[in-house]
């Protein structure tokens, strides 16, 4: 892990190795020097980072317009809420289960619509997100508690004496999950799977004609993206201790979309910048609450005008493909 981190540093993810370790130290120190309020702000930054990373797989890597991602987030949160309150299963054990539930839902729902392109897919995913939310309001089988949602979710634990019950612990929980996700996603980006996703984004027909199983890789992106959103839902549910349909509106999906667009499609540092923007912006502009949305909109428009590729677009080129045989370069022409 450390070796991988060093490599990440060298390869320009954080500019340099020392900058990477400085950032890491800052992250560990941060909750010990600020008040609980700012720890919570950083916690929600982490939640949005995780949601951004999850949508980034679908939207950023494969270029599929998914505006219903809050639906997967909701499935994860409600899976945790219901199984924890009804059956008392510890929240951390539900973490992988929530991910699997969201992934399964994505597989079932997306299989029939995966061939749709661009705006058509976009509209269907909006519908999917809304159907999930409305279904939760309608309280099916008396499970979801209707508009009030589900109350009384436990603190995260494995059922033993280890319980996450303070802001600092929540902060570390979410950021460890974010770090592990980034680690896994970087591996995928640098592999044939990440490349296959990008080929499909660039040209679906050419990807198919080059031997990529387009349908499989699109579904894989949705399933993985949904699983990560499910993980975010699990942590979110236990942090708030209650879930209700109004946390999973179309607006949440839009925010996730903004995170990916602000940062730059397919760029992991970009997602972190986008998530920081979306989660910290309301805090910074709290004094001007009235004009908040106005400023937000203006900033978005300016960003899209002057940096259409996002704040930190993914760079391609020699950095990602160090030569296999250093020193032999340039012999052939």
């Amino acid at each position: 892990m450390i070796q991988e981190a060093k490599r990440m540093g060298r390869e320009g993810f954080f500019g340099s190795q020392s900058l990477f370790f400085a950032t890491l130290t800052l992250f560990i120190m941060y909750p010990f020097v600020v008040s609980d309020y700012y720890i919570d702000v950083a916690f929600f930054f982490g939640i949005y980072a995780l949601l951004g990373l999850s949508l980034n797989i679908v939207l950023g890597e494969v270029g599929l317009f998914d505006l219903g991602h809050a639906g997967f987030y909701a499935i994860g949160a409600y899976t945790t809420a219901i199984l924890n309150t009804k059956f008392g299963i510890p929240v951390l054990i539900l973490l992988p289960i929530s991910a699997a539930a969201a992934a399964l839902f994505a597989y079932v729902v997306c299989s029939p619509i995966i061939h749709l392109r661009g705006d058509y897919l976009c509209i269907v995913t909006i519908g999917m997100g809304e159907i999930v939310r409305i279904a939760l309001i309608n309280n099916p089988f008396d499970l979801t508690g209707g508009p009030n949602g589900v109350y009384g979710i436990d603190f995260p634990s494995f059922g033993g004496p280890f319980v996450i019950d303070s802001s600092i612990e929540y902060y570390f929980l979410i950021w460890i999950v974010v770090a592990l996700s980034i680690y896994g996603l970087i591996r995928l980006q640098k592999s044939h799977i990440g490349r296959a996703w990008n080929y499909i984004r660039e040209d679906e027909v050419a990807a198919g004609a080059s031997g990529i199983d387009v349908r499989y890789y699109k579904l894989l992106a949705f399933v993985l993206g949904a699983a990560l959103a499910g993980v975010a839902g699990n942590i979110y549910a236990s942090k708030l201790m209650c879930v209700s349909p109004e946390s999973f509106t179309f607006w949440e999906s839009c925010l996730m979309f903004c995170i990916v667009l602000i940062g730059g499609m397919g760029s992991i540092p970009g997602v972190l910048i986008g998530a920081a923007f979306i989660s910290l912006f309301p805090e910074i502009f709290r004094p001007f609450a009235m004009y908040r949305m106005l400023i937000f909109g203006t900033v978005m428009i300016l960003l899209m005008m002057f940096r259409p590729g996002g704040a930190w677009p993914r760079k391609r080129g020699a950095a990602e493909h160090p030569p296999l045989h250093p020193g032999k370069e340039g012999i052939d022409g």
Partner: protein, 270 residues
């Protein structure tokens, strides 16, 4: 291989039987029968709208034909998905180059080897030894292909930033990286200048000599068709109207009438 007796001594790689493709009321390809033999360069020619590209799209799995069969190396591949057909050994290029524009030339060519990779999600996440080996292999195959098309110096350039002629060669290299038995080229010389066309012809004839590969191409440039083809199939209005060695085709009155035209013939003789 110009005479048909010698040609038939080579095994058939690709065969279409009664291939028919309709778009609504329009029959784009009508009962098309053709055979491509191993180790030859076979050209399909014909006026615009004759159905050449439709045949290609049916062979490579982009369209499913209404009627007929496509047999490749003895296996029926009619209606298979494009990626299955690539894995079976047919690789193609497009008339209007279709690269992955914002990815590097290396990454573009690496796409070709994808169908030979067997590691899955978990192997990739946990970086299994098999996955590492396959990744190295993908890279070294792409490197040897990019050397072969003489674009080594451009390997880290984005595909959209290199010259049109070079993009064409990257597309061919991507197809070759799939390790194909049959290379299907849709108008490879379109948009190339005479020198680039010359180089392309040399490249293709060299390829046939060095590798166990068969080439099927659509071409409009008669110098290319007559210069490198072993066998020529002429299409018009969705049907095959003639086939034969380049010389036979060149003197076939039906072909001249349908396609070449008398002026063209004169130009060629000069």
């Amino acid at each position: 291989m110009a005479d048909s007796a010698l040609r038939s001594s080579h095994p058939v790689v690709l065969e279409t039987q009664n291939l028919t493709k309709m778009f609504g009321g329009l029959t784009a390809v009508n009962a098309f029968d053709a055979q491509v033999h191993r180790g030859e360069i076979c050209s399909i020619i014909g006026p615009n709208g004759a159905g050449k590209t439709t045949v290609f799209n049916a062979v490579t799995g982009i369209y499913t034909p209404e009627k007929g069969r496509i047999v490749f190396n003895g296996n029926d591949i009619t209606g298979h998905k494009p990626h299955h057909i690539v894995a079976a050994g047919i690789a193609r290029t497009f008339q209007n180059i279709r690269l992955f524009p914002t990815m590097t030339c290396m990454e573009n060519i690496m796409a070709g080897h994808h169908c030979r990779i067997s590691s899955g999600l978990w192997g990739t996440l946990f970086r299994s030894s098999g996955q590492k080996r396959e990744e190295e292999e993908t890279r070294s195959i792409a490197e040897s292909r990019i050397r072969q098309v003489r674009l080594w110096d451009y390997r880290h350039e984005l595909a959209r930033n290199i010259a049109y002629g070079s993009q064409r060669m990257v597309e061919i290299a991507r197809a070759l990286a799939t390790d194909p038995t049959l290379l299907v080229l849709d108008e490879p010389s379109s948009g190339l200048n005479p020198r680039e066309t010359e180089e392309l012809m040399e490249f293709l004839t060299g390829l046939i000599k060095e590798e166990d590969i068969t080439i099927l191409l659509i071409e409009h440039d008669m110098n290319v068709v007559m210069g490198i083809s072993d066998w020529v199939i002429v299409m018009d209005e969705g049907r095959k109207i003639a086939e034969g060695g380049p010389d036979q085709i060149y003197h076939n009155p039906r072909v001249i009438e349908a396609y070449l035209g008398s002026d063209d013939r004169q130009a060629h003789q000069e």
